[in-house]
């Protein structure tokens, strides 16, 4: 039978059988497909490490992938390949911090905490839109920078603490392409407070990013936060640790959404963790493109010396727009599974992708992978998605019953979000 004809008969049958909850095989009526049977399976309950969707919600943002055409693909995979659940936490550590300051502040001089002698300070022009129009701040030549040690509130201008400087052109050739200038502190510089000043007159509203990088510092601020956050979640939990210190931290948090906007977040401590509160109006970004970031700042003192750190991680904000119902129809021919049909409940039209790994059993009774199969299609409302199991790939594996479906995953290609994952989905 041609695949297209077989697909048509399967779709027609799946509609007829959609209400069937019986686990007994159902024989097809057509003579051509007399060997085809259908069973119903109930998906296994989620286990630790799985991702689930509870309540659905509609998304209104334009889809990243709005293609209407369905695409299916199947390929054999290594029989012993480990199927690993998606990592749910993103971890990052930082030996640097950054601040946004104005031209007026730079002309007056800003105080910076430095915790080691070979630190690098980068001055990068940024934009300011507070007046309604975007102001593009000019680059600063490094010879206009002054850096002095602050001793007991007094700026010691007897010696410059700069060892070397790099101008924007040189920085660009070395990989930092944002009109930055940078200076490296001299070997004589000791930890403490330094004043950075720009001597060339700047417009008061000019905006600059000051980045202090302390490579190899023993004081690394480590942040652990979720990789994904539902639009239903009112807060984002995170874990924070400063290496080589057990000092209590008082972090501040900022949300940077995928469109580049920053929003300050309230932070509360809950046990050993922290919760950043997401106000309703900030719940979702204005675009499905890109990722959001949580940025955490800490200012503290370690061994009597000031220490500042900024650390960030990225996460995907998503709307739980669809979920798999917990039953699936399995189609069989010659005692081999040919297709699995899943029912999808959707709250918004979108392009949804379902994928899974089919595993079988060898002569010794050991389970092994056969193939990975996936299908993506546009759904305007609740509907079905079919995963096909390639007969040749199944035959070539040499594996037989009992079969199982693992690593069952639902993604929304419109939001570019993983919605659910079920490590052990069904035994067929």
């Amino acid at each position: 039978m041609k695949p297209s004809i077989k697909m048509a008969s399967v779709f027609a049958l799946s509609a007829l059988l959609s209400a069937c909850q019986n686990d007994e095989p159902q024989a097809e009526n057509t003579p051509e497909a007399s060997a085809m049977t259908v069973t119903q399976v109930t998906l296994l309950a989620p286990a630790s490490g799985d991702l689930t969707i509870d309540t659905l919600a509609a998304t209104e943002l334009p889809p990243v992938n709005g293609s209407r055409g369905g695409v299916s693909f199947s390929a054999p995979i290594t029989s012993a390949a480990q199927l690993v659940a998606p990592t749910q936490l993103e971890q990052s550590s930082s030996d640097q911090y950054w601040r946004t300051v104005s031209g007026a502040e730079l002309n007056k001089g800003i105080n910076l905490a430095v915790s080691q002698s070979d630190s690098v300070i980068r001055v990068a022009p940024r934009g300011d839109a507070s007046s309604g129009a975007l102001r593009h701040s000019p680059a600063i030549s490094p010879d206009q920078l002054r850096l002095y040690k602050v001793n007991k509130q007094t700026v010691d201008k007897s010696a410059s603490m700069i060892q070397s400087m790099s101008d924007p052109q040189a920085m660009a050739t070395a990989g930092i392409v944002d009109d930055s200038s940078a200076l490296k502190l001299s070997q004589q510089a000791t930890p403490g407070i330094y004043q950075l000043q720009v001597v060339q007159p700047l417009s008061a509203n000019d905006s600059y990013l000051i980045n202090v990088k302390e490579k190899g510092s023993p004081y690394q601020l480590a942040l652990s936060a979720p990789k994904r956050l539902s639009s239903k979640a009112p807060q984002l939990a995170f874990d924070l640790k400063l290496s080589n210190s057990d000092i209590a931290l008082s972090p501040t948090a900022t949300l940077k959404q995928s469109d580049g906007r920053y929003h300050r977040l309230a932070v509360i401590k809950q046990g050993d963790n922290w919760q950043a509160q997401l106000p309703d109006e900030l719940a979702m970004p204005s675009s499905n493109l890109g990722l959001s970031e949580i940025q955490v700042d800490v200012e503290t003192r370690v061994n009597g010396l000031p220490l500042i750190r900024t650390v960030k991680t990225a996460f995907k904000q998503y709307v739980p727009a669809a979920k798999l119902k917990d039953e699936a129809s399995i189609y069989w021919q010659d005692n081999k599974p040919t297709q699995a049909v899943f029912d999808l409940q959707v709250a918004s039209p979108g392009r949804y992708q379902v994928s899974a790994v089919l595993v079988g059993t060898d002569a010794q009774g050991k389970q092994a992978n056969i193939l990975r199969t996936e299908t993506a299609q546009w759904l305007d409302a609740d509907g079905q998605v079919t995963l096909s199991f390639d007969g040749e790939q199944l035959e070539a594996s040499g594996l037989g019953a009992p079969y199982a479906i693992k690593a069952l995953e639902l993604k929304d290609q419109g939001q570019m979000a993983r919605l659910s994952y079920l490590g052990e989905a069904a035994t067929l």
């Binding site: 293609s67 993103e90 950054w98 690098v120 980068r122 993506a376």
Partner: protein, 285 residues
């Protein structure tokens, strides 16, 4: 017996011309909007040298796409898919070798990892035999984080300050970690890529002004390079850390293991005919 087998093989080829592979070689650039990548990104010297190692040296293609966009964008992976599809169809290619540099590796991984994103992808996946990834930015780079910190003002129409691009934003370290975890194959704990992804790692930057080796597509500004190295591990090619380059696929070799004079390959040098890189690739393919 040996002659008989050879004759049998010849006979098979004669009656069944579609049973043997038609190979093709494709050069895929990194971040940037290329319109003449042969001259502006690679060099004629490099391309002509490498393709001599291919089974069909004239079956080659130099990609020109807008890799300033996110990897999945129509102008990036969509453009790449279009040019690859045309190449495969016009020459009946079924043994495709993709040679990528830097972010080009991510765009290729996007296609190989997401067969149902675009109806053109399955054919490309099925035709691809191997990927040779020169200094791929699989794990992103802290330098991308550095230039996207602060108010850089992106809009749906582009980057107002022109400091970066969506491709640069995508190559921030935690962003690539997220994409590796959700959308890309080939990193630890994720499904394997459908074809081998063989990586050449650049591990250092030779920028000493007294060393003529520095001038093979090298750096001019030693002090700036020393400055930007503060954002990178000690093992890096000046733009990407070694761990980022080796995050996906398998390492074919680290530069100093095989280059002439055991010279390191900077990020610029890993797309040029520096220190026999071209002949190493030529011999592999």
């Amino acid at each position: 017996m040996k002659i008989y087998k050879k004759l049998m093989m010849l006979g098979l080829f004669a009656v069944s011309p579609l049973t043997y592979a038609t190979s093709g070689l494709v050069f895929i650039h990194g971040t940037g909007h290329q319109t003449d990548a042969l001259s502006d990104y690679w060099t004629r010297e490099f391309v002509d040298s490498v393709r001599q190692g291919a089974a069909s040296p004239d079956n080659y293609l130099v990609i020109n796409c807008d890799f300033d966009q996110y990897m999945w964008d129509d102008a990036a992976a969509g453009c790449l898919a279009g040019q690859l599809t045309q190449f495969i169809d016009s020459k009946n290619i079924n043994d495709l070798t993709l040679l990528t540099h830097s972010n080009g590796g991510n765009v290729v991984r996007w296609i190989l990892s997401n067969p149902t994103w675009d109806s053109r992808y399955p054919k490309i996946i099925n035709a691809t035999s191997r990927v040779i990834a020169l200094a791929p930015s699989s794990g992103g780079t802290p330098l991308a984080d550095a230039v996207t910190q602060g108010n850089v003002f992106e809009t749906s129409l582009g980057w107002l300050l022109g400091y970066g691009s969506d491709a640069v934003k995508q190559q921030q370290v935690s962003w690539m970690s997220s994409y590796n975890n959700s959308w890309l194959y080939g990193t630890s704990g994720r499904p394997a890529l459908p074809s081998p992804f063989e990586v050449v790692v650049g591990s250092d930057v030779d920028s000493a002004f007294w060393d003529s080796d520095s001038y093979c597509a090298g750096y001019q500004y030693q002090v700036a390079l020393e400055t930007t190295q503060n954002w990178l591990d000690d093992c890096s090619d000046g733009f990407l850390e070694c761990q980022s380059q080796s995050a996906a696929g398998s390492v074919w070799f680290k530069d100093i293991q095989r280059t002439a004079g055991k010279e390191p390959l900077s990020h610029q040098q890993s797309r040029r005919a520096c220190f026999n890189l071209d002949t190493l690739i030529r011999d592999l393919i």
